[in-house]
């Protein structure tokens, strides 16, 4: 192929193989196509640049080289353009990007912080992508738009890629979850009138909202009330409500409370309609919440673009994990184009210095935190809860599904490339509200609960 020929050799032709122009019918150039992948990338970059310099006029390039020599040309180009930097940039992203203009969907909540901030703060651009982040009305719509390929990738709840892969609640399509977005960052918010009912045992008959059936919110709320002895299917009512509509519903007295994402817990406090009963980090510190997800097809057919996108997200997630960056991030994502929330509300969530709605000033720096690593044990825990509440039936191959969907190895590789240390294992034991979870024994764990559907 002509793009692999040495552009600094006056005898080579950069015209394509079938070209019959005068200069291509003469022969004489030696074929010295580099045989390593790195060498090939270098050659393609050089060739493209040299073509550009001579305005794709091959005859003038060859005349110039005969007179001045290849070294002169290389030096001349390097003097105006750092050739090594260009080569390095292309190599870093694993070869040329198949597609640069991407659409990524998000729901306007702080869980999506890395996905959103990567646009205004330049993390996508840094990895050569031009990404439009598109605000979406709800989880069902974001799922359908991603399945439709209107979005190349999207912000999802961490149980969703598992459910989609298994075809639970949607058409089955293999999905990847390359990275977790945020850990913690949710809360149970109750209406002001319940400020004396702080014990979940008193919640019989309450109506709660969660963002979606396949959400950590649903599973954590069910877990929380079940630990207090209430059956979430019989003693309380749980309905799926898009997060942005939760505050309006709480004000209208349609619901008694919600386990929802921020900024809506804080927004309920800001509006004076609710108070923060408990942060989810007090139930399970470090629980996963939202995720970055894409179809297996996208990852396989456009591997370089996928890698660049993946890298931008991991990069942004690490940036967001640093407390000193949080105020600047709040400023970047609060405007109308992104979250469309008052900056002080977003800042209260991200910095963890907030008012709980009952007059207490709290300081919880990891109220929300960001860590991209998709632990397989998190996937297994989610599957155990799906089994527990009857969302999936029969035998579940917990490990196999979690390992297929949660791309821990890929994430670890990218973390390493970016200079972070990934964990050595992909399974960890958790303690959730004082009860131990061992990912090696998922079935025993499901059976150990008193209140369950399975």
């Amino acid at each position: 192929m002509s793009m692999f020929r040495n552009p600094f050799d006056p005898e080579t032709k950069l015209h394509s193989a079938g070209c019959t122009c005068h200069s291509c019918t003469a022969t004489g150039a030696k074929d010295d196509t580099p045989d390593s992948r790195e060498g090939l990338i270098d050659r393609v970059v050089e060739s493209a640049l040299v073509r550009e310099v001579f305005g794709h006029h091959d005859e003038s390039r060859r005349n110039f080289l005969r007179l001045a020599g290849g070294g002169t040309l290389a030096a001349a180009i390097a003097s105006v353009l750092p050739l090594d930097a260009v080569k390095a940039a292309v190599k870093e992203s694993g070869g040329p990007l198949e597609k640069k203009d991407l659409k990524v969907g998000f729901i306007p909540i702080t869980c999506a912080t890395p996905i959103i901030m990567a646009a205004p703060m330049g993390f996508y651009a840094k990895h050569g992508l031009n990404v439009e982040v598109i605000k979406t009305a709800g989880w069902a719509v974001i799922r359908d738009k991603t399945l439709n390929k209107e979005y190349d990738a999207a912000h999802m709840l961490s149980p969703m890629p598992l459910a989609i892969t298994m075809g639970v609640g949607s058409a089955a399509q293999p999905y990847y979850m390359p990275a977790v977005e945020n850990i913690n960052g949710q809360a149970i918010t109750l209406a002001m009138k319940h400020k004396d009912k702080r014990d979940p045992k008193q919640w019989k008959g309450f109506k709660f909202a969660v963002p979606f059936d396949y959400s950590m919110h649903n599973f954590l709320l069910r877990y929380y009330v079940a630990e207090a002895g209430l059956d979430p299917d019989k003693d309380i009512q749980i309905r799926a409500v898009p997060p942005p509509e939760m505050v309006a519903n709480l004000r209208a007295d349609n619901i008694d409370g919600f386990l929802g994402p921020d900024p809506f817990n804080q927004r309920a406090v800001y509006e004076g309609v609710g108070f923060i009963h408990i942060l989810t980090k007090e139930l399970w510190d470090g629980h996963p919440c939202c995720a970055f997800a894409a179809s297996e097809e996208f990852a396989k057919t456009q591997p370089n673009t996928f890698a660049a996108l993946f890298k931008s997200i991991v990069d942004a997630t690490h940036y967001a994990a640093k407390p000193e960056n949080r105020a600047a991030i709040a400023k970047a994502i609060a405007p109308k184009n992104y979250l469309n929330q008052p900056e002080e509300v977003v800042a209260a969530v991200l910095t963890g210095r907030y008012d709980d709605g009952l007059g207490n000033k709290k300081n919880v720096p990891n109220r929300i935190d960001f860590n991209p690593f998709p632990w397989h044990s998190m996937g297994v825990w989610i599957l155990t809860q799906m089994k527990r509440w009857g969302y999936i039936k029969g035998d579940v191959n917990y490990k196999q599904i979690a390992e297929q969907v949660y791309r821990a190895a890929d994430c670890g590789k990218i973390m390493k490339e970016l200079g972070y240390t990934p964990p050595k294992t992909t399974y960890a034991k958790y303690t959730i509200m004082g009860k131990a979870f061992d990912p090696a024994k998922p079935e025993v764990y499901v059976k150990s609960f008193k209140i369950k559907r399975a």
Binding site: I134, K135, T136, A137, D144, K145, K149, E271, K336, N337
Partner: protein, 259 residues
């Protein structure tokens, strides 16, 4: 004494002033609790929005003019498709009692379905949210046009058709030269009802699917509980709906005839 239209106009303005005055007073009255923004705040907001109606600050933040243009575009696309299908079929139904009986049960079942109920199915099958919104407009605007066309065609006076027959006009010529002009006012009434319904439905459809359009604008402002923007967009939806209706009313006047 003043003429009737002038007196009506003065009354209209007085009513508006009283209403806005009461609203403003109610909002500014002392007391606690969340309040709807008053007319003065709303006016300031409207001036600000309308002075940059076409700004584009990224995919999720566009001016009211751009959002309205998206919605109008979708309504016109779905509505035109519906008209292209409904008017010929309505003609067939109106001219043939057999077709009318054969199709009637389907029309009766499909007509009362809320167009938004089609949305999940449309998203799944069409695999494009923009096209799905257009489909929803199509499915909601087709019925009034279809039924009115059929009714208009069926109730053309027999005399006209008999005269056409004595002039030895073919069936096609009768349809285009006699029945069409005679049924035109009824057809236009159907079209006028349809455009009104389409405009009602697009707002709901866009709130559901999001992305662009005036429905998305309302939803986005609702997220932020920004009632000034919500009320402002309600007014804009009303104004555009009125203009669309006015347009069809003009067209209707063009085809009106006296018996």
């Amino acid at each position: 004494m003043w003429s009737l239209p002038l007196r009506a106009a003065i009354l209209s303005v007085l009513l508006l002033a009283v209403l806005l005055g009461a609203w403003e007073l109610a909002v500014q009255a002392p007391g606690a609790g969340a309040r709807v923004p008053g007319p003065s705040k709303l006016f300031a907001h409207a001036v600000q929005e309308l002075s940059h109606p076409f700004y584009d600050a990224g995919p999720n933040d566009k001016g009211i003019g751009i959002q309205l243009a998206y919605s109008i575009g979708r309504v016109l696309a779905g509505y035109s498709l519906a008209a292209l299908l409904a008017i010929p079929i309505g003609f067939v139904i109106g001219m043939s009692p057999m077709w009318q009986r054969a199709l009637d049960p389907y029309i009766q079942v499909l007509k009362p379905i809320s167009p938004l109920a089609w949305m999940p199915l449309a998203l799944y099958v069409i695999k494009d949210s923009g096209a799905s919104s257009i489909f929803v407009i199509f499915i909601c605007s087709i019925w009034p046009m279809l039924i009115n066309t059929a009714f208009g065609v069926a109730s053309v006076r027999r005399d006209y058709i008999n005269v056409a027959r004595t002039h030895e006009l073919s069936r096609f010529e009768t349809a285009t030269q006699v029945i069409l002009p005679a049924a035109a006012p009824t057809i236009l009434t159907g079209m006028r009802i349809s455009i009104g319904i389409s405009w009602l439905v697009i707002v709901a459809a866009e709130m559901l699917v999001g992305g662009t359009g005036i429905g998305y604008y309302v939803w986005n402002e609702w997220n932020n509980l920004n009632l000034a923007s919500v009320i402002f967009s309600i007014l804009m939806i009303g104004v555009i709906g009125m203009l669309l209706d006015l347009l069809l009313a003009r067209a209707q006047r063009l085809v009106q005839y006296a018996d």
